[in-house]
Amino acid sequence: MPARPHPLSLAATTRRTAVGVALAGLAALSACDASRDEPSAASGVSASADPDADLVSGLSDEMTTLLGLAASIEATYPRLGPSVRPWRELHEAHLKVLGDDSTPAPAHRRRFAGPDAALRELRQREQRFQARLVDASVSAQSGPLARVLACMSAGVAQRLVPQGNATQLAAG
């Protein structure tokens, strides 16, 4: 059972506001780190300055698009639900962490070249998005935001690994 995220406590009404609140939350997280003994090159999030707002907003849009694609695949090929649902859950969780709790658009059936092609398209777009998260983490002005985006990229990277490949650890 995949772990579930603790959503940030938000009272956001718009995506832009939500992003600002999320960044403020990340700033608070950073401020709570008593071991931070000097500002790093990447530390310090200021919700008022909001240097990463556009970055986060763009990522939220991309996640929402991927959510829509996954929902369309599931609506078109219900039997692919078990393959597609983990991606939806992942992006929904990540959107919550970024403070975007907007309701996703309803899923519509879409024309794909077939179920295999639909899954292939989803996987290719997830691969591109994983690289995008890495780049976004590198470019983030805020260290705490960079950390969260890096962890999101790791979460996507894990999902891209074919499941059922775990080896049995039998030490000793």
Binding site: E89, C151, S153, A154, L169, A170, A171
Partner: protein
């Protein structure tokens, strides 16, 4: 946290990982459990490479790289990768540019590698505060 301190804690985690994967690899039969042996060997090699690079990086910055402990407790449940992910994620927050990208790649590599032993993907590997475990 300073960049040096984040590098040092990441190095400490890599020291532990090298030790633990080395011990486990030595106790695993290459013929009886080839997949496990290969996964452990790959993990050992990857962590040793990162340990060496971190050691050089810290020395290049003028600090003394933290030394390995004489021995580490081998955990009943292999959570060595979790520690590496946590420290790599912290390193991401405390670096920029090339070093940050390296830390992200280390985090991604560790996240994928732990799947070989545990099998269950997470929502945010390396960011424990957001997840129930």
């Amino acid at each position: 946290m300073t960049t040096i301190r984040a590098l040092q804690t990441t190095l400490a985690a890599e020291h532990a990982a090298v030790y633990v994967y080395g011990v486990l690899g030595a106790q695993t039969s290459r013929s009886a459990a080839p997949d496990l042996y290969a996964a452990l060997t790959a993990a050992y090699t990857a962590h040793r490479g990162r340990r060496d690079l971190l050691t050089r990086t810290i020395a290049d910055l003028g600090a003394d790289p933290v030394a390995a402990e004489p021995a580490y407790t081998v955990p009943a449940h292999l959570d060595t990768g979790d520690r590496v992910m946590r420290e790599a994620a912290t390193l991401v927050a405390n670096t920029s540019g090339v070093r940050r990208r390296w830390a992200i790649m280390a985090l991604n590599d560790a996240a994928v590698r732990v799947l070989a032993f545990r099998g269950a993907p997470e929502m945010l590997p390396g960011a424990d505060e957001y997840t129930d475990r």
